[in-house]
């Protein structure tokens, strides 16, 4: 019974959430707090806060954690399948069909026409990331830091995993806040 509810709830989240996981969080809240009342709004906010502490996709952590609370590991598996599988299958089928017609001139035109559009979407996302960093620090820190990181990542060609791992270690070891020009 409960498993069927979990399946329905996260199937809806997966099929109705446009714009990637983070924009689907309100949909999870509607299912989990408003509709099925598996937790209170405060508990949901707490789950969201700890999901933001960890790296990795947000929506799968939130959904997985909530379902673990109510139905254990089987609940987790159920929610993941319900949320991920339908759109993953649709995506694979559509792209496989598309690949089959790849030699046609107009299909090649389509794949060329989509690149500038995706470029703009990513550019907007890039600016949003910088703005959200700006919201908690100053330009005086952010600009030199960003330029420094650009050099490390693109000129020195250090793998981003190494850069991010170092940042994680440094921020966990430090006891004081980052403010102003120090790195």
């Amino acid at each position: 019974m409960m498993h069927w509810q979990i399946f329905k709830a996260f199937f809806r989240v997966g099929m109705l959430g446009f714009g990637g996981g983070p924009s689907s969080i309100p949909l999870v809240k509607i299912e989990v707090v408003d509709k099925y009342k598996w937790m209170s709004n405060e508990e949901f906010q707490d789950v969201l806060a700890i999901a933001n502490v960890l790296p990795g996709p947000i929506i799968t952590k939130v959904a997985g954690y909530i379902c673990y609370q109510i139905k254990g590991w089987l609940g987790v598996a159920n929610a993941m399948v319900a949320m991920i599988l339908p759109t993953a299958v649709i995506m694979t089928i559509l792209l496989a069909l598309f690949t089959g017609f790849k030699d046609l001139a107009w299909v090649q035109g389509m794949s060329a026409g989509v690149v500038p559009v995706v470029l703009v979407m990513l550019a907007i996302l890039t600016i949003e990331f910088l703005q959200s960093a700006k919201a908690v620090t100053t330009w005086a820190f952010l600009i030199p830091f960003t330029i420094g990181m650009l050099i490390i990542l693109e000129v020195l060609n250090i793998h981003p995993a190494i850069v991010i791992a170092i940042i994680i270690v440094i921020s966990l070891l430090r006891k004081y806040k980052v403010r102003g020009g120090s790195t």
Partner: protein, 176 residues
């Protein structure tokens, strides 16, 4: 060992992408296009375009398709598992500890420092896409579509799926 490669290609974005699935996109591009060469920049843009027009979490959709391209159905399962499972398991196992840490400023420091890194990685893909488009479609179509897409997305605020559709139709009709 293709499955091991797929696993690593999605494990790294899954465990270092700070800020949810979309933040992992540049990390996936780096592995898939640069490190393993499973697809070109243009093909990656197509996958991203379709991923943005369909509902559901973005990283898992990308993983499902790219994993399938590189290693069939099993590859698809491996990619999705690698991108989702590690961070989820950590969250479930360490929840009690994380509750204690969530208010401390260590994590706000962390997020502040990682966002510019993600922004740079995304900015680099934007430049990649730009050069790719200039090469394939030429300057006129590229600039025209960038301007139109920007106006529709940021000023008129039409749903991204429709803007992608416009790009597809424009391309089918005018880009040769």
């Amino acid at each position: 060992m293709i499955y091991m490669e797929i696993f690593l290609a999605f494990l790294i974005p899954g465990i270092i992408g700070y800020g949810g699935g979309p933040a992992s996109i540049p990390l996936v591009e780096r592995e898939v296009v640069d490190t393993y060469g499973w697809m070109t920049t243009g093909e990656f843009a197509e996958v991203l375009a379709l991923g943005n027009s369909l509902p559901g979490p973005i990283l898992t959709k990308m993983g499902a398709y790219i994993g399938y391209e590189a290693g069939g159905v099993l590859g698809s399962i491996v990619a999705v598992t690698a991108s989702v499972l590690p961070s989820l398991v950590v969250m479930i196992l360490l929840a009690a500890l994380l509750y204690k840490l969530k208010g401390t400023n260590k994590f706000s420091t962390l997020t502040t420092l990682i966002r510019p890194v993600i922004a740079i990685l995304m900015g680099v893909i934007v430049v990649d896409f730009l050069f790719n488009s200039l090469e394939v479609s030429g300057g006129f179509h590229t600039i025209f579509l960038i301007v139109i897409a920007f106006i529709l997305l940021q000023i008129v605020k039409i749903h991204p799926a429709f803007v992608i559709m416009i790009g597809l139709i424009y391309g089918a009709l005018f880009i040769r």
